[in-house]
Structure formats: structure tokens, C-alpha cells
């Protein structure tokens, strides 16, 4: 699998009340599983006094760059309990992950830990910002589903441990849109009828990627003609778009939009609130992302690695999934996940859908410039 392009999202956490409900439910669930939480309070596969002594040595405040609220509800407290003297200072990513990267260059050593997508790994390597780790340092990394390990951008698993993944497709209101939607072609055909009621995402990769898929191209294509065709399709359709939104579901819930380009976890949460909101895996295929933690070079990189290891424990990955209504990447976490998540057909797609997923790869500089210019031309049109 491959990484995704720069993403700006998670705004739903601030906007949607369902997220709050989900977080409370997640907390309640884990509170009920008190003994399990206690287990996670120990460092990875804790085996007694030696490990505890090691944990006590790792102290300090981890400066953790993350999307606001994108963490298990109990994780920070459990980590502090497992590592006395250590705590988390979460630094929210404002805008895209791209906008945070120049700060890594200018404030080397100020950041210790980050949630990143794959597309940023080559850049972080080029910046010489990543702290590599060994299998012994992060033993829990082997808990992660093999499908999310040995990525092209980290073949030796020495920088990245996956935390979550998802795909971008279509969400729509079946109580208002009576026509069946199975593809991006259907969605674009319905634009004139539902003009001004169709929302697309404010993320370049997702929305331009949607147009690429509609035209039968790869979301990783850097062919100028293909990118230009996708840009033109978006420009021609722009008059029908309601807005470029951070998250599709709030506009579907409010009724401002009846069709929206959405992330799977977003629709999974929204459909629990309003069953008329349904999810479509477009037949043309769809883009997907894989996110994970990296440790950054600096005075606290050992503590950062300890956190990454801690987070890859089944209990913590379950807390993550339960809090955010996402699919876990640690198979052993499945038994700790809320049934409404594990039963979700949106979050756990069938094999034929999985085959249509295309993960983004990091673009070469020329490709990146090409996509960014096309995106700006669309927005400026």
C-alpha cells in the first residue's frame, strides 16, 4: 500500500456532535473494561521490574503534532500512567500536514512525535528529520496488520507504524436523492439536478483524485494531459458545487448538501446519526490513505519511540478506533472494538472494494507542481 497526499480533515470532530457522543461512548466502553486499560498502562509486553525501571527512565514532555482530537480518549492518560514522568503536549496541525513540514526544518528538535501520511515520509527523510527505530525498540509494531507494514516508502519498517487508514468515496442522502448512485459517473450526471447541493472536499488529492478516477485515470498520474482533463472537469462542474468542505458529513446532516465527497469514517459516524446518509464505493475506484506515527530526531526520540510502541498495543488501537469510529489496523484489537464499528460495512469493505482502492504515492516535484497548479486553477475559476 502507498501513502496519501496532504490531508486536511478531522474538522468533523469540532463540528459534529456525533463525534462527542462517540468519544463519550468510547470512554464509557473503556472504563467498563478497566482491567484491560490497566494492562495497557504498562510498557510494551511489560515483563516486570526491568521494564518498569526502563519506563521510569523515560521522562519528559512529548511535543506531539497531530490533528486535533485524533487520539484515543484514554491514550494520553494511560501513557502517563505507564511512563511516570512523561506526558503529551499535543500540537494541533493547522491546515494541511504540508504546512507543518517547513516548521520541522526550522524548529529541529522542538517536535518529537507526529501523525503523518505516507506522502510526507519521503519529505521528512529528505529533511533528515526522522528518527529510525529497530524491531527491538518498537516490538509492538508487529501487531499491525502486515497489509499496513513494509510500505514502499518505509520498506524496512524503521520509521513508521500505522495507526489508521480510510478511503474517500461518495456519501448521499437517500431520502432526497432518489436515483441510485454507484459511481462518480452517476454523481457527475446528477450535478445539474442537484446543483448547489453537492459538496466536495477542500483537499487537493481527494477532489482532484475524484475527477481523475471519474475519467479513468490513476490518482497517482502526473501526466499533464490527464491532470489538465481532470482540472477542466472540475472547473466545468464548479457551478454545481455547494462548497469545498473539510468534512462532507456535516453538510449532509444539515441538508445543505445531498451528495458529498466524503471519507469512509465520516459517513460511518454520520449514518449512525441519520440512517438516510449512505455510503458508495464508486465503481471507478477511489483514493485511500494510511496514517501512522513517526518519531522525530531530537532529545526525546526514545520517549517518542516508546509512545509509538505503546500506541501499537491492541488496547490502545482499540481505544483509537472506538473514539474516532475508524477501522483498527491491529487485528488483535478487533475483540475490543465496539460492535457497531466491527459490523460496519463502510469501515470493513468487502474484497472486491479493496481491490478498487488506490493509495496515493509521494509525487515527484514536477508532479506536485502540476497538481498544485491545476488545483489552484480550479479554485480560482
Amino acid at each position: 500500500m502507498n501513502p496519501q497526499p496532504p490531508q486536511t480533515r478531522r474538522a468533523f470532530l469540532r463540528i459534529g456532535s456525533y463525534a462527542t457522543v462517540s468519544a463519550i461512548a468510547g470512554s464509557a466502553f473503556l472504563s467498563a473494561c478497566g482491567s484491560d486499560a490497566d494492562k495497557t498502562a504498562k510498557p510494551a509486553d511489560a515483563d516486570g521490574a526491568t521494564k518498569s525501571a526502563e519506563a521510569r527512565k523515560l521522562t519528559g514532555t512529548l511535543n506531539f503534532v497531530n490533528f486535533e482530537g485524533w487520539l484515543g480518549a484514554n491514550t494520553a492518560a494511560a501513557f502517563t500512567k505507564a511512563f511516570p514522568g512523561a506526558d503529551l503536549n499535543q500540537i494541533p496541525i493547522a491546515g494541511t500536514q504540508e504546512s507543518w513540514l517547513p516548521k520541522v526544518k526550522d524548529r529541529r528538535g522542538d517536535y518529537d512525535l507526529a501523525l503523518v501520511d505516507g506522502a510526507t515520509i519521503p519529505k521528512l527523510i529528505a529533511l533528515d528529520a526522522l528518527a529510525s527505530f529497530t524491531a527491538e525498540e518498537v516490538p509492538n509494531a508487529t501487531n499491525v496488520d502486515p497489509a499496513f507494514r513494509n510500505q514502499a516508502w518505509d520498506p524496512d519498517n524503521k520509521y513508521f507504524v500505522a495507526t489508521d487508514y480510510g478511503r474517500t468515496g461518495i456519501g448521499y442522502r437517500k431520502d432526497i436523492v432518489t436515483e441510485p448512485i454507484t459511481s462518480y459517473a452517476d454523481m457527475f450526471a446528477l450535478l445539474p439536478k442537484y446543483s448547489g447541493k453537492v459538496a466536495v472536499l477542500s483537499r487537493m488529492g481527494s477532489t482532484l483524485g475524484m475527477a481523475m478516477k471519474r475519467l479513468g485515470y490513476s490518482v497517482n498520474s502526473n501526466d499533464p494531459a490527464e491532470v489538465a482533463a481532470a482540472r477542466q472537469l472540475l472547473i466545468d462542474s464548479k457551478k454545481h458545487f455547494l462548497a469545498l468542505v473539510d468534512s462532507g458529513s456535516p453538510s449532509l446532516i444539515s441538508g445543505d448538501a445531498v451528495i458529498a465527497l466524503c471519507d469512509d469514517y465520516d459517513v460511518a459516524a454520520a449514518s449512525a446519526e441519520n440512517p438516510n446518509i449512505v455510503w458508495v464505493d464508486p465503481t471507478e475506484g477511489m483514493s485511500a490513505y494510511l496514517e501512522g506515527f513517526v518519531a522525530l530526531k531530537g532529545p526525546r526520540e526514545d520517549l517518542a519511540k516508546a509512545f509509538i510502541n505503546f500506541q501499537a498495543a491492541p488496547e490502545q488501537n482499540a481505544d483509537f478506533a472506538n473514539t474516532l469510529t475508524i477501522a483498527p489496523v491491529v487485528p488483535a484489537a478487533a475483540s475490543l472494538i465496539k460492535p457497531e464499528i466491527t459490523k460496519s460495512k463502510i469501515l470493513f469493505p468487502p474484497d472486491d472494494v479493496k481491490q478498487r482502492i488506490e493509495f496515493f504515492v509521494a509525487r515527484p516535484q514536477e508532479g506536485e507542481s502540476l497538481w498544485m497548479k491545476a488545483w489552484d486553477e480550479f479554485r480560482a475559476s
Partner: protein, 301 residues
């Protein structure tokens, strides 16, 4: 009495003392000059240097190689259209703000005694609330199920939905910047002596003639300040388009924020330099025209 003073004329001693005093006072400005050099001139020089460079999008290293490509980029599609759109929106915003703010400020100056302060407070109170919060409030008012759409639907049979349109952005910017037009206008209008207006009245000028020939010219510094304050900020605005424009209307402030934020810092720098030159040019034109008008006035008198 000092002997030396007796040999030197008194006025020269005074002049010398004044010079020495001036020199001492000049020394007091050194910290301010250093501050300006460090935090204005130096960053500005770096910004200008960056605008002639090329960025490696992986390492964010900027090679200042003297290229003009960033300026070419900034002055071609899609950024030129974005710049022109921003200028138009900035002009509309500043003119509408002026039209709304002028009568408001004039009315405030006409309120007598202690009643003025509470009225001024009421006029300015909404602006105590955060700019972003107010902009989000406008989204609620202008959206499809908002009061504006409901009202226009019931009156005209057609809802007016301004959310996520350039019109919505203009509404948000006009409201957001109105206070910046009211305050300088109020200050300028309040300085006009009532005796001057009474004189015009006594000489037979009708109210509109007095307004046109006395009030407006005397309030000109406030008008120019209002237009400049609102215009400059509106042209570079990026919060309102993001919220009320739904990301669909790209303005130069958004481009600047994204590019200078890391996407392409040299391009962001080139856009910033272009905007700076534009504002400097407008300022220079304004200054020259005012000087010319002043000279004409002197000649006429």
C-alpha cells in the same frame, strides 16, 4: 556667568544647546530604529530575496538564484485573476464601508453631551466579538435555511442564498471592516468646527451644498484613512473567503497564506512584494494628488 558666554553671542549658545539637546533626543530613537531594522527591514529584505528564488518542495531549501519566474507565475493564470478579483472585492468593500460609515460617523458627531458615549459604545459593541466568530455567525444568516433566504423567499418568492458566494464574502468583509471606516471618519468629522458649518448656513448654502463643499472636503483625511485601512486589509483577507466563500472563491490572501506557509515560499514572497508595490504606488498617487490639490488651493487663495 560663564566668561566664555560673554565672548559668544547668546543666540549662538542657545542654538548650540538646542542642537546638543536634539542630538541627545536622537539617541533615544536608536532602540526604535534597531527594532525596525531587525524586525521590519531585515525580514523585508529576506522576503524580497526569497521572491527571486526557487524552492525544493522536499527539503524546503530556497535557492536564491535571481530568477524572475516567481513573478511571471504570480502575474499569470490563475494568480493574476485571483489578484484582480481581490482588488475588485477590496474596492467594493472599502467603498460600501465608506457609504455606510459616513452617515453613521456624522450622526455620532451630532449627538450632544453625555449621550454620545453610550451610542458610540452600542455602534462599536459588535466589533468586540472575535472577527472569526462574527464571520461564522454570518454563515448561519446567509445559508439556504437562514433568515435572509427565508425572508427573501417569503417576500419575492425566491430565496437569496449568499453563503458560499462572492456576495457572501463581500457581506462578511463589509461587516467585519466597518468599524475601521467608522472610527477615522468619526475622528475627522468630529474635528470640523460647528462654526464653519454655521458660517456656510449663514451665507445661504443649502445643507447638501454645505455637505458637499464643506463637510466632505474637511473630512477628506478621514475618508482616505477609512478607504486605505479597509481596502488594504480587505485585499489581503483570507479568513472570510475560507468561511463564507466555502473555499470556492480563491482570493490573493488565501494564495499568499498557502504559498508563504510552505507550499511555495518564493511564489508567496513574489505575491507579497507585488502587493506591497501596489499599495505603495496607490499611497504615492494619493500623496501626490493631495499635494497637487493643496498647491492649487494655495494658488487660488
Amino acid at each position: 556667568m560663564d566668561e566664555g558666554v560673554g565672548r559668544v553671542p547668546r543666540f549662538l549658545v542657545d542654538q548650540h544647546a538646542r542642537r546638543r539637546g536634539t542630538t541627545l533626543w536622537s539617541l533615544a530613537t536608536i532602540p526604535d530604529l534597531l527594532w525596525a531594522l531587525l524586525f521590519f527591514a531585515a525580514p523585508l529584505a529576506i522576503l524580497i530575496a526569497f521572491s527571486f528564488g526557487t524552492e525544493d518542495s522536499y527539503t524546503f531549501e530556497i535557492d536564491i538564484n535571481g530568477t524572475l519566474d516567481r513573478y511571471r507565475e504570480a502575474l499569470t493564470t490563475p494568480y493574476l485573476e485571483t489578484l484582480l478579483r481581490s482588488l475588485a472585492l477590496g474596492l467594493i468593500t472599502s467603498v460600501v464601508c465608506l457609504v455606510i460609515a459616513f452617515p453613521t460617523a456624522l450622526a455620532l458627531t451630532r449627538i450632544k453631551g453625555t449621550a454620545r458615549l453610550p451610542v458610540l459604545f452600542v455602534v462599536l459593541f459588535p466589533f468586540v466579538v472575535s472577527f472569526t466568530v462574527r464571520t461564522y455567525a454570518w454563515l448561519g444568516i446567509l445559508r439556504a435555511d437562514g433568515p435572509v433566504a427565508q425572508l427573501t423567499n417569503s417576500v419575492f418568492g425566491q430565496p437569496l442564498v449568499l453563503a458560499y458566494t462572492p456576495g457572501g464574502i463581500a457581506v462578511g468583509m463589509i461587516h467585519g471592516y466597518l468599524v475601521l471606516a467608522i472610527l477615522p471618519l468619526y475622528a475627522a468629522l468630529d474635528r470640523i468646527p460647528l462654526s464653519v458649518l454655521d458660517a456656510a448656513d449663514d451665507l445661504g448654502a443649502r445643507p447638501f451644498r454645505t455637505f458637499r463643499l464643506v463637510t466632505v472636503p474637511m473630512a477628506m483625511p478621514g475618508i482616505i484613512a477609512a478607504l486605505a485601512l479597509v481596502g488594504i486589509l480587505a485585499i489581503g483577507e483570507f479568513t472570510v473567503p475560507a468561511i463564507l466563500g466555502g473555499g470556492k472563491t480563491l482570493l490573493i490572501g488565501n494564495v499568499l497564506a498557502e504559498q508563504a506557509g510552505g507550499a511555495n515560499q518564493p511564489l508567496g514572497a513574489a505575491i507579497a512584494v507585488i502587493l506591497m508595490l501596489l499599495f505603495t504606488l496607490l499611497g504615492a498617487i494619493n500623496l501626490l494628488s493631495r499635494r497637487r490639490a493643496h498647491r492649487l488651493e494655495l494658488n487660488q487663495s
